[in-house]
Every structure is written in C-alpha cells, then in structure tokens.
C-alpha cells in the first residue's frame, strides 16, 4: 500500500524576481516496505522533498498524502508527524543530558505515554538494532556510529511507519555506514516506508528504487530498466 504520495508538488521560496523554485512538479510514491533513495547535487531540492514528504513544510502547489490523509486538510500536523513519521537527520540532536534510552523514550513521553511504558518501548527498539547495552550511556560516551544508531532508534520508536533519513551516514566510515543502512533496510523489510536522501551511491544502492533529482525535477529513476527498453 502507498504510504506517502506526492502529486505534482512544487515549492517556491520567496516571491517575484527573487523567487527560488526548489521543486517544480515532482510526483513520487513510497509504498509500505519500500526503501526509496533520492540522489542529486546540492541545491537540487532533495531536502525540500524530504521536508514535504514528512509534513514539515507545505507545498506551494500540488498535494501530499501521508497514510491516506491529504496534508492540506490535516488540522494537527504536529500530531500526525509524531504518530506516523520518524526523522533521522545529519545533525543528530540527541539531548546530551539524557541517556540513550531516555533520548529514545522522549517522543513517546511527548505522546503522553507513562514513562514505564515508554521505557519498555525504547528498550525493545534498542534491542531490535542491537544497542541494548548502550541504553544507560550518555551521548558523549558513545561513538559516532553508536550515536547515529540511537538517533535511528528514536526515529523508530512507537508505531512510526514512515522513516525519513537525510544523510544518515554523515561522516561515518563505510563499515559503520553499512550498519546504519542495514538497520534502515530491516525496518523497511518489516513494513515501514523509508525515504532516504544521500549523495553517496553506495548507500543509495540499498534502496529498492533510486530517484535522481536535478534542478527541482526528477530526472531519472532506476525502476524501469533502460537496457531492456533499448
């Protein structure tokens, strides 16, 4: 089932002569259990696309549906985001005064869960990514790769069925980067929809489909083999 649907989405920043057309009519769907990677040079609209797909920004024209709901008609966008969408960004934003487990619990506590229940959920998602032993450590006691995994656990906790990742491998070495992708891939295979922005071909290659953005438009995707079309 389609979890995210962008139809003819355009996003213009500013007005008149100085207007920047970040996206110019992009249509894209991500199914449940599908991992889609978006590649493109800086300024091609990758991050704008991700923000629109996650309801962090609204399109100038076109429509965005998440889990069957048209975002234009959703009153409480923040609640929808908290319930359905997990974000992994390059700057991790882990809270330094909280342990790994507390960081992962936080979004669930904001949802109104009792802290005992939130901790159970946090521990189960940490276990899922083999990071149980990190639960009681503070971010500064973790390596870059471990911190990134905790950030992913925080994005996964609860019933979030859409995962948005913007350069989640950052400056990690290739082996640790692979572990991050393995985690995202596993979550995807368990039914989540994952949209990944990356400029690294080796990580984009974990996706079912790779979409190339160029000047705010989709210039190509890997879903229709070119060779056989020739």
């Amino acid at each position: 089932m389609t979890f995210v649907r962008l139809a003819e989405v355009a996003r213009v920043h500013g007005e008149g002569a100085t207007a920047v057309h970040a996206l110019k009519g992009v249509s894209l769907q991500v199914e449940e259990g599908e991992l889609v990677a978006v590649m493109g040079p800086s300024g091609s609209g990758k991050s704008t696309l991700l923000n629109l797909a996650g309801g962090l920004d609204r399109p100038t024209s076109g429509t965005v549906h998440i889990d069957g709901q048209d975002l234009a008609t959703v009153r409480d966008l923040a609640a929808l985001r908290r319930r359905s969408v997990g974000y992994v960004f390059q700057d991790l934003n882990l809270i330094m005064s909280l342990t790994a487990a507390e960081n992962v619990m936080l979004p669930r506590e904001l949802d109104g869960l009792r802290s005992g229940r939130a901790r159970e959920e946090a521990m189960s998602v940490l276990a899922e990514i083999d990071a149980e032993d990190l639960a009681d450590r503070f971010p500064e006691e973790l390596s870059g790769g471990q911190r990134q995994r905790v950030a992913i656990a925080r994005a996964l906790v609860g019933e979030r069925r859409l995962l948005l990742a913007d350069e989640p491998t950052g400056a990690l070495d290739t082996r640790t980067g692979d572990e991050i992708l393995r985690t995202l891939r596993a979550r995807c295979d368990a039914g989540a929809a994952v949209l990944l922005v990356t400029h690294e071909p080796r990580y984009a290659a974990w996706a079912d489909r790779v979409v190339f953005l160029r000047d705010g438009m989709i210039s190509d995707t890997t879903d229709v083999p070119l060779e056989s079309a020739r």
Binding site: P41, E200, R202, A204, A205, V210, F212, T222
Partner: protein
C-alpha cells in the same frame, strides 16, 4: 596470472584435486569469476611443468590430488608479499566513450552521463543485494565490496564530469 596463484594458494592449505580446487576457488570469490574445469587442469599442468606442484596417485574414482612443492610455497609467499601493478588494466570503454562524446561536440554528453549513471546505479543495487545475501562468507563479501567500490568510483567520476561540463558551457 590470478588463477595460477589462486590455485597455488588453495593448495598451500593441503592436497586437492581439480574439482575441489574449482569449487573452493569459486567459494572464496563468490562465483564472481567462474572457472571451467579445463582451465583448472591446464593451469595445474603448467604448475607441474614449472615444479610448483606434484600430482599424487589417482584414487579409485581416477581423481588425482595435487600437492604443493617447496618452490610452490615460496611462489605463494612471493605473490602475497608483492603489490599488484596498476599498469595492466584494460582500457576503460566508458572513459573512451565520454572522451569521444565530448570531442565530437554533436553528441549530447549530459545524456550519455545521465544514462550511464542510472545503469551503474542499477548495478550497484544488484551488488548490494548480493552482498546482503552473502551473510556468512567474508571472502565473498569482500569481493563484492571491491566491485561496489569500483562502481561507486565510477558514479563519482560521472558526477564530476557533469559538474565540469556544466561549467564549460
């Protein structure tokens, strides 16, 4: 001569016959470079001629196990101890194609780059799938990684070409 040295390296672990060598070679390289049995026996014959291996008695099924000689052992050690030269690489068709496309001026180079990048990305996706499936063979996984790094380098080079050509215009 990677097959020759590959077989010698396998024999340094103990005597083996031809079919065993072929299976083990393919197992360690993830069947990336399939060997036919004829190739194995020709190579063994040359190794024997050069005094690097010795055939034993044939068993009841007529199979002959080969044993590495002292000279063969030295050759394997020399091989592992010597870096591979970069000079023997074949000419790269893609590089030639792009250079020709740029020189021709009538060709849409951006389109050539764009098509290639999508095709190479598909290759990368297939390699990554194979890597995920090769969970227990470290040697296999590293062979696939080598190909992944090469495909990745090609992607980066294509991005670079596109950026440079955009500036030139």
């Amino acid at each position: 001569m990677p097959v020759r040295h590959g077989l010698l390296a396998l024999l340094s672990r103990g005597p083996r016959h031809g079919y065993q060598l072929r299976a083990e070679f393919e197992e360690s390289t993830g069947a990336t470079w399939p060997l036919n049995i004829g190739q194995v026996y020709t190579t063994l014959a040359r190794l024997e001629r050069d005094g690097l291996v010795e055939p034993g008695e044939s068993d009841e099924q007529g199979r002959v196990a080969y044993t590495i000689t002292a000279a063969g052992g030295e050759e394997v050690a020399r091989w592992f101890g010597t870096p591979v030269a970069q000079t023997d690489r074949p000419r790269d068709e893609l590089v030639i194609k792009l250079a020709m496309a740029v020189a021709a001026k009538s060709v849409d180079v951006a389109e050539v780059i764009h098509r290639q990048r999508t095709a190479t990305m598909r290759t990368l996706q297939q390699l990554t799938k194979a890597k995920r499936a090769a969970a227990d063979g470290v040697a296999q996984r590293l062979v696939l990684e080598s190909m992944i790094f090469q495909a990745e380098a090609e992607q980066r080079w294509l991005d670079h070409c596109e950026a440079v050509l955009k500036e030139e215009r």
